[in-house]
Symmetry: C2
């Protein structure tokens, strides 16, 4: 398994190079789940932006209510990954045509989720164009308690919320890579279409977790960001990674591919010292959300995968790249 | 001239209806140049978002440096219209391909302007898709001094910064609606390609102006927003509206069309009491920027246009609608 930090630059990385510069006024700039700027008294304001393009991030015929939910959910997930409390968002929308019924559904999906998190729509822009949604979301973090990617320390446990791989498993069915039994597909489809941002978890982990991020592009690639920015390595037990019953009934190779490299789950991956295990178990009980230890942060760089028997596991997949064709 | 407040709903307005709701936590929501939320101690944070789509807001072959400048400039102009001091921005970018030379130029155009205004790029998202830029910009306003659209009062003077109509005149040449002499086109083209956001003016007008906005869709439509939200009317002397020498050499009907309904100038339109005339003249001198009185706010609703002789002027044009085809 190559060290993500030394992998060759993708086109994606090249683009980022042009637009990534050190910040002076902001507390944290490009490269984490959110940027941080001075916020209201005693707080930092966490800010994240995402763009969803039709045919790339969602199927053109996706139900608009699910699309509205997901577009906001992926942004709330970035706030969750920083431990921020959602506060407001803006929406920029390009539409090929203005279909009132479709728009009413889109708005409903988005605003029901927004209301559930007390996140107000405060501004926007609408224009004619290929279907594209860009949301910018704002959240409050008290003091300096933001969960940053650069805060992992050797010896930390590596934790995963919920289960991984279901969104990828559902996508594979939609793409015709494999065919699931209808009842199984029905169970896991919401994991792809209407993911649940782990907002309450992120807020509960303030002062307990060290580093955190949300898993949007697959665990391997995303964990790599924590390792690079924290200048540490990790060992992960591939077979300890949490998965649903549906995924657990699939062939082992497919299970491993889905949990390691499947994107779009929007679970949190976080690191915490061993002394925090009891507190984390308490948070899990309180939220009714499984939290699973799947590995450790190591001082030596690189990500080592092992299987259930402790043998090295060589994974051939790649993290998701929005510019791969 | 119909009252903009009673005009039939466009598709554009229909869309906005779905997404416009009263805010509770934010100080100001959808409907002004920026939203306002609680900011760092003693300040409000002004937030605005814009989406620019290839073929709609810019020609596909626009020089990337000019595009980078304009994409940020139109957002800075929204901050200017609130009297906010630029602080940071995020960029979401969909690109059909990653061309490093093109991207370097785009970044240069954007970041030179950002540096000139101390506005840091703090976050972003990049994906493959039809060329689309969405920027969200953040600025500070001390106290409650934001220049809002709902603050115009009967008797206020109506002021216009710089000159109007040049961007529309240049666009008409590009579209083949008319042909300008080459030297004239060269002079006014930058007004279309690389507009200047009136940031220093907006900040100087805090505590002096009542209402303000930036003219992006044409004076008639944009001033209509102030009138509607302030529940007032206005009288405008069409021939007192400031225009460049190049535009002033055009046929009078074209001049009037460009100054009244030409979009993309990004000048400020603001209202202020007569007692502020001296202060405003001082700001004009200090900034080296012409500021022109072109009318007055009236208690009775509706926008009345008069010509240089004081006769009613009937304008047949329409404000720019991004959904008009």
């Amino acid at each position: 398994m190559p060290d993500p930090a030394s992998a060759p630059l993708s086109e994606f990385d090249l683009i980022r190079q042009f637009f990534t510069r050190p910040v002076h006024k902001a507390a944290l700039g490009v490269g984490d789940d959110c940027a941080l700027i001075d916020g209201r008294p005693g707080h930092q304001l966490a800010i994240s932006t995402d763009m969803l393009v039709s045919g790339r991030h969602f199927f053109p015929d996706v139900p608009p209510r699910a699309l509205g939910h997901k577009a906001l959910a992926v942004n709330l997930s970035d706030l969750a990954a920083m431990g921020a409390e959602p506060r407001a968002f803006t929406l920029a929308l390009a539409l090929p045509e203005a279909d009132p019924a479709w728009l009413a559904e889109l708005a409903a999906g988005m605003l029901v989720l927004a209301d559930a998190h007390g996140c107000e729509l405060i501004g926007g822009d609408t224009t004619k164009g290929p279907l594209t949604l860009s949301i910018t979301v704002f959240g409050d973090v008290p003091g300096r308690q933001a969960l940053r990617r650069d805060a992992a320390r050797p010896g930390d446990d590596i934790w995963i919320s919920g289960t991984l791989g279901d969104a990828r498993l559902a996508l594979g069915d939609c793409r015709g890579e494999w065919l699931l039994p209808e009842p199984d597909f029905t169970i896991i489809r919401p994991r792809m279409d209407t993911p649940t941002p782990r907002v309450a978890l992120g807020m509960a982990l303030r002062g307990i977790a060290h580093a955190a991020l949300d898993i949007s592009d697959g665990l391997i690639g995303d964990l790599g960001h924590i390792l690079t920015r924290s200048a540490v390595g990790a060992i992960i037990d591939v077979d300890a990674l949490p998965r649903s019953e549906v995924l657990g009934a699939q062939p082992l190779a497919r299970q491993r591919e889905c949990v390691l490299a499947g994107g779009d789950d929007y679970e949190l991956c976080f690191t915490a010292p061993a002394g925090a295990r009891e507190a984390i178990a308490g948070i899990s009980r309180q939220l009714g959300l499984p939290l699973t230890r799947a590995g450790n942060i190591t001082p030596e760089p690189g990500l080592r995968l092992v299987d259930r028997d402790g043998n090295p596991y060589a994974f051939g997949g790649a993290a998701f790249d929005h510019f791969a064709s």
